[in-house]
């Protein structure tokens, strides 16, 4: 499994979720994205979309001023 990191800190437009959607199109099933977001809203809206679309959530951790959210592409 390979991990791609997307640094979406300070991204207001398109923002972390749209960056994640675009990033998932470029990796293979089973691979992981670790996305960094400075928007607390991501902690809610990323899992919400992941549940709708059917990928797998990994760990979410709060870092110094941002969140690291892991997602595994499942389909």
């Amino acid at each position: 499994m390979s991990t791609t990191t997307i640094d979406a800190r300070g991204s207001y437009c398109p923002g972390p979720l749209l960056e994640l959607i675009a990033g998932l199109k470029l990796i293979s099933i089973g691979d992981e994205i670790e996305i960094w977001s400075s928007d607390q809203g991501s902690v809610k809206d990323i899992p919400e979309w992941i549940a709708k679309v059917g990928h797998q959530m990994g760990e979410t951790t709060e870092q110094d001023g941002y969140w690291s959210i892991r997602i595994i592409k499942s389909k």
């Binding site: 300070g10 437009c13 979720l17 919400e48």
Partner: protein
């Protein structure tokens, strides 16, 4: 020895950069201490925002184009000969015609392109206005349209974050003028849980859509289109029927970026402050083709290019860089037929649009006309 600056891509970002460098490095260019070369795909420069008006017949095709040679400073050596391979290890770019260009500094400005073929059925079943051929076909499809269901489907990633909203409002007004508004239902779909990436814009859009009866579906990422059944299905499991499907297809960067192994999807990993390609101190990336998580828009290209011009000039003349890029993006947002507002933001400052006004609407119209001055580096 003379320093060679090579710019790959003659769209907005490459052109502003080339012209700005000519102005700032005028004396060094005159003395032969530096040269500026550009590789492009065509001798015509297209005003992309004008594509929005082609489906409605309110702008002629020839109004979109100017000779690239006339937009560029005379001192730029311009070749219509696209790059086929960019070799950042050996500071060399090969071209389709078999030429090979060495450089001391490279600027990658190859933009982004639509890839409707990545969604099964989309190329056959949908219309779009993000390239000239698509905009022409959409003009014909609109002419033939006599009411029914229109789906405006937005996919990620895409350039120009406001064009999807603008096309929705323009479709409504166009159909109203033709007496078809009552016989038409417009549904707008967006990939995330609101109507636009920028929260204040999403909020405003929601109220405007209600006013015009435009429906919407959020969390909708196109999975496939069935041109025979005339339906579009989303990754999230929803299916919408359509009579006319207008899509903002997903984008990728230029083919040469992937062919040269410079970035997945054609997006070049770029330092968000220095605009250096990650790992190359003499390679810079500007415009849509960076992987920086900000809007792919003309204004972004413009602010990035301004930073790059200052930095490259200082590097060539004094061996130092001048300033970091702060992530600034500026967008006009049309809020009706005769009013507009604007938002700006950067890496540190969130967007905070002011109240719409007629004055801002006129500024936007003026800015459309001023595109060519901006490309020439005069704004």
């Amino acid at each position: 020895m003379s320093k060679r600056i090579l710019i790959v891509g003659g769209g907005l970002a490459g052109t502003i950069t080339a012209n700005g460098l000519c102005r700032q490095l005028g004396s060094a260019l005159g003395k032969g201490e530096v040269s500026i070369t550009m590789l492009g795909t065509t001798d015509q420069h297209m005003y992309q925002p004008g594509l929005l008006y082609i489906p409605f017949g309110t702008m002629r095709e020839d109004e979109l184009f100017r000779d690239q040679r006339k937009v560029l400073d005379r001192r730029v050596n311009f070749f219509v000969d696209p790059a086929s391979n960019i070799d950042v290890e050996n500071n060399r770019v090969e071209t389709h015609a078999g030429m090979s260009f060495g450089y001391d500094y490279l600027v990658i400005a190859t933009g982004s392109r639509i890839v409707p073929e990545e969604i099964p059925g989309m190329a056959e079943g949908a219309h779009w206005f993000y390239d000239l051929d698509g905009a022409r076909k959409m003009r014909q499809a609109l002419e033939d349209f006599d009411g029914g269901k229109i789906v405006v489907n937005v996919n990620a990633p895409h350039k120009c974050p406001v064009a999807p909203l603008e096309i929705s409002f323009m479709l409504y007004h166009h159909l109203q003028k033709r007496g078809l508004a009552d016989k038409t239902e417009i549904t707008y779909t967006y990939p995330i849980g609101r109507l636009h990436a920028l929260e204040p814009v999403a909020h405003w859009t929601s109220a405007e859509f209600d006013k015009y009866g435009i429906k919407s579906e959020t969390f909708f990422n196109a999975k496939s289109v069935d041109p025979a059944a005339k339906t579009i299905e989303s990754e999230e499991g929803s299916t919408l029927p359509y009579d006319l499907l207008v899509t903002i297809p997903p984008h990728r960067g230029a083919e040469v970026i992937e062919a040269s192994d410079l970035g997945a999807g054609g997006w070049v990993p770029t330092d968000r402050h220095s605009l250096n390609r990650e790992g190359s101190s003499n390679v810079f990336v500007v415009g849509d083709t960076t992987n920086i998580p900000i809007s792919k828009a003309g204004s972004t290209a413009h602010y990035e290019a301004d930073t790059l011009i200052d930095n490259l000039t200082s590097l060539v003349l004094e061996g130092r860089t001048a300033r970091p890029y702060d992530g600034k993006v500026f967008c006009f947002v049309e809020t009706g037929m005769d009013s507009a507002t604007y938002v700006w933001f950067n890496y540190e400052t969130p967007p905070n649009p002011g109240p719409p006004s007629k004055m801002i609407h006129w500024s936007k119209l003026a800015y459309n006309r001023l595109y060519w001055l901006s490309a020439r580096g005069l704004l």
